[in-house]
Symmetry: C2
DNA sequence: CGCCATTCATTAGACGGCTAACGATTCGGA
DNA sequence: TCCGAATCGTTAGCCGTCTAATGAATGGCG
């Protein structure tokens, strides 16, 4: 009885959509909130650092940073000592979003898992962790998915 | 103890990546396989039908269809009786992918859930179903996520 | 019968991701 | 000291997904 793949995908899509809706009326897009979260914790990080932390490629962060700069959430400034580096600094607007965004995220998570008992929630997290680990292994192994299944 | 959102997102990303890798060496991109699956089951569907079945918007299907036509997987042809409609017809190449793709998908699913007991798998599916339902409700309700949480 | 609302597909453009190619800068070793 | 290797960010371009705007065809109602 397969169909786990589709279920997980469609769940993700639904969750994403509602999270995006939630963020949108705070004036930002989904994904930007992750960058912001890192800068709230420590301002002036570089795109590379952020990308590594978020498990995302550098170009992705660069693009987001460009939009966020346009939106007035942060500014770019090259590092004085190492001119290859660029550091992202929050604006006042970027800092101001911290409290509402964090609150919104928590509320969303509670809403979504409201139908689960505490035990169910723990099992869910455990199961997802296992699956993710498997997926990462497959990726690292040069995905022998088409080779002999054994 | 939040963090379910991030876990779910990162799991999805990993799963997606490995699935995409698997599809790529069969010569197609992730997402195309869903369109193909529908056409295998019934050839000659319209973009609108496919979009509705996949819970995706019509433009998404149109774009994929364009690429898939370029890739030689299917052809477009307008319906004779209702000229507004466009019907997508598999080419021989598109039909030929059925067996390998389905096999690959099943293998992938087994790999990913290999660390779960049967009970765990069932609980996982149950939990995801509940969460997805919640998410869809929130979307439908005009997402009162920012309104009074009560 | 003719016109307007409905129904489809397509196009345009945005977001989040990714890979590949470039360009600039720093650093280390000969 | 100087040049090539390593390190960064940026650009270009593709995939999947969405919304909004356009365009073409059908259908129903007066």
């Amino acid at each position: 009885m397969p169909e786990f793949l589709d279920l997980h995908g469609s769940t993700n899509k639904a969750v994403r959509a509602v999270a995006d809706a939630g963020m949108r009326h705070l004036g930002l897009h989904l994904g930007q909130n992750h960058v912001l979260a890192l800068l709230w914790e420590q301002d002036g990080r570089t795109p590379g650092e952020i990308a590594a932390t978020l498990h995302v490629t550098t170009p992705t962060v660069v693009k987001m940073a460009t939009r966020m700069a346009t939106a007035g959430l942060l500014t770019r400034r090259r590092d004085d000592r190492d001119n290859r580096l660029v550091r992202l600094w929050l604006t006042e607007a970027g800092r101001a979003l911290r409290q509402p965004v964090e609150q919104q995220r928590e509320r969303l998570e509670n809403h979504l898992t409201a139908d689960l008992t505490e035990a169910e929630r723990e099992q869910l997290i455990s199961a997802l962790t296992k699956i993710r680990r498997r997926a990462l292994e497959l990726l690292a192994d040069g995905d022998p998915t088409d080779a002999e299944p054994r």
